[in-house]
Symmetry: C2
Subunit: 438 residues, 2 copies
Amino acid sequence: MADQKIYKPRPITGFPEWLPEVRRVEQQWMDHIRKIFESYGFCSIETPSVEEIDVLSAKGEVDKEIYVLERLHKDENEKSDARLALHFDQTVPLARYVAQHFNELDFPFKRYQMQRVWRGERPQAGRFREFYQCDIDVIGVDSVPIHFDGELAAIMVDILRGLNIGPFQMQISNRKILMGLCEGLGITDTLPVTRAIDKIEKIGVDGTRKLLVEANIPAQHIETLIKLATIKTENESFVEQVLALGVSSPTLAEGIAELASVMAQLTHIERGYVVADLSIVRGLDYYTGTVYETKLLENRDFGSICSGGRYDDLAGSYINKHLPGVGISIGLSRLFDYMRLNNKLGDLTRKSPTDILVCVPSDEKRVEAASIAKILRDRGLNVELYHSSQKIKKQMEYAVRKGIPFVWFPPFEDRNTHEVKNMVTGEQLPSDPHIWSK
Amino acid sequence: MADQKIYKPRPITGFPEWLPEVRRVEQQWMDHIRKIFESYGFCSIETPSVEEIDVLSAKGEVDKEIYVLERLHKDENEKSDARLALHFDQTVPLARYVAQHFNELDFPFKRYQMQRVWRGERPQAGRFREFYQCDIDVIGVDSVPIHFDGELAAIMVDILRGLNIGPFQMQISNRKILMGLCEGLGITDTLPVTRAIDKIEKIGVDGTRKLLVEANIPAQHIETLIKLATIKTENESFVEQVLALGVSSPTLAEGIAELASVMAQLTHIERGYVVADLSIVRGLDYYTGTVYETKLLENRDFGSICSGGRYDDLAGSYINKHLPGVGISIGLSRLFDYMRLNNKLGDLTRKSPTDILVCVPSDEKRVEAASIAKILRDRGLNVELYHSSQKIKKQMEYAVRKGIPFVWFPPFEDRNTHEVKNMVTGEQLPSDPHIWSK
């Protein structure tokens, strides 16, 4: 060893890595998310970490920051195969998957996907280059019932409430409302309008008004647009408020009806978790109906932690079918890391999944201790057998260090009974392995 | 859509992707493996998908086939950051992790890791370029009790028995036995010997004898080596057989004692699952004590499905500490795909996790149907609410197609009771959502 050169490793910016006690909470988060997804009957899929660049660029030049793979030991005159790149989201892979396996899937195709995605950005503080994303989508052939737009919101509220992330609010709108209002007002160039409304939470009403003036929107229309964008109701009462604007169009009516139907479905959710918020636009293209954003109420500036919406055509680049859908996604690693940095992950004292440490009072007692461990394990508990027959004090210290909640003492010397110590309360009592269960 | 150019996606050789019903079984496998790992108190870690090339090459030139990452939109005059490559195993990442977080970890460090790894090979049939590997290791500072060598074998037998992969056998040896025998026989150039013995299962006793002759091993030593390599016992009786060879050396004695201790620990395992098999060498370097291989008895030629061993120094390239360990690993994707191709994955009719499909007999009944779904969901069941109020026959067909085991009919028309149909037996009976649980 003495003559070995040592390369001291450093963390790689943007590629998160957790200690065991943090990873344990991350697993709990992912288990919880998966459980709720599955409780609504959504199936899991996973796709390869890579896609062909030709797939990623089927819609045109890839403008995303992506990582391309190169074989380290590439032969000079090797016939080059298709170029592969790490996926930067789970939507392109889903589209490709649905197109490729179209005849083997059942529609509406209800799937969730929880994988790592990559962004080939320059390293910079606070920006992940590898992270987990949890997506859920419903894809239909030619149509998808509006009922799913409500269901996805309900699923995500269920999930977020279970994560103990503090107060949050999901804002739901429908792009047809703003588009329909423009239609009714006779505004044909809608891009600057959506762009201005999209920013209202950040730049305020005055900022948005200024942008609309710059876009040459007539003054009276600006006031109507601003009124629309400030409508925010916890139930379907947004409908009257929109109607009170005195504008009408077929698209507007459709949007109002769809959003009303979504809100009606969500009445079982406790007040405050979901609002109809007509300022929500969610980017400038792609989404065509329902749109979702979700904010932490204690830090709205953190941006949306769970977003998505309805789209008209998922996979037109890969298959000659009309496949509309609705989807919503949690940027898991970003949210998780935020909670970690704010000390909101809960109990970080447990450094292993162990429920009980079985002590080994002497080498002769190891077989007996092992058989107790096995009984407890068969009863569903996570059990460590101490790895040596060091002094009991040492074994207890190990349990304390790893945050193991119970320590088991097999009969030894002058004691005929099994005893168990609760490491939290300090209480130590006689016990029997056959009465324990998770 | 009509004018859109379509790029028809194809599977990428070596990057597996499963349909939902296959993925469901893969999830069951991974849940099972994790459960057993945790039941012995091992903690989970995950490392980034990438390591710096400098980390991978700390021990010298990287001879593995690896994928290096290149940013697609790299600026010409951009200052290049550290070059990153996808990890090709979980051992180098573990070594780097332990070195980097040494002061924050508890030793013996008992961790499991179930991630994807990549091999940057040329595409070729039957060779995975991306696959899941499930590793479990114990790392100690300066020493690791031999007790863990037995525990890891027991863990893997527990796991494999639960996967329904048919009969298998784990073969355990200790490299000190062969090394010690060479020591006792005065053979100093051990490399050709280990190479010849390593191949005995493939090329037979005669093939190995031929290789030993070519390596100029004296005839009487060849017979001793062959005798050693054919020792295979289900318990500690290998000890007498080795002693009967009449050779002795300190290393040999150590190896015998260690392997005997491991086998003694495994007596609670049913006969046949574990054997001491002195032909097992497991490659030519790295491992220094216990070695494991595991074969499917119905197809030994498939090679080892679960292998590992004890090593002297995990992380000497990254930290100035002596960190010996013992580890064992399942090449999950390879084994899973083999079972898939041999139709041994069990039930593939279920295309979703749904336990119960709740029918929606009419649009008016949707709210009532949704509240039944919620009750069942709160009771731990996975429940789909049918997405429209199509004819019940259509809804039933959907359940059949997706392999959903139960269909729920809310009260409707002339019926006042809830009824549930068992889709396997065909039986339909009145029921109450409040009596159901998983």
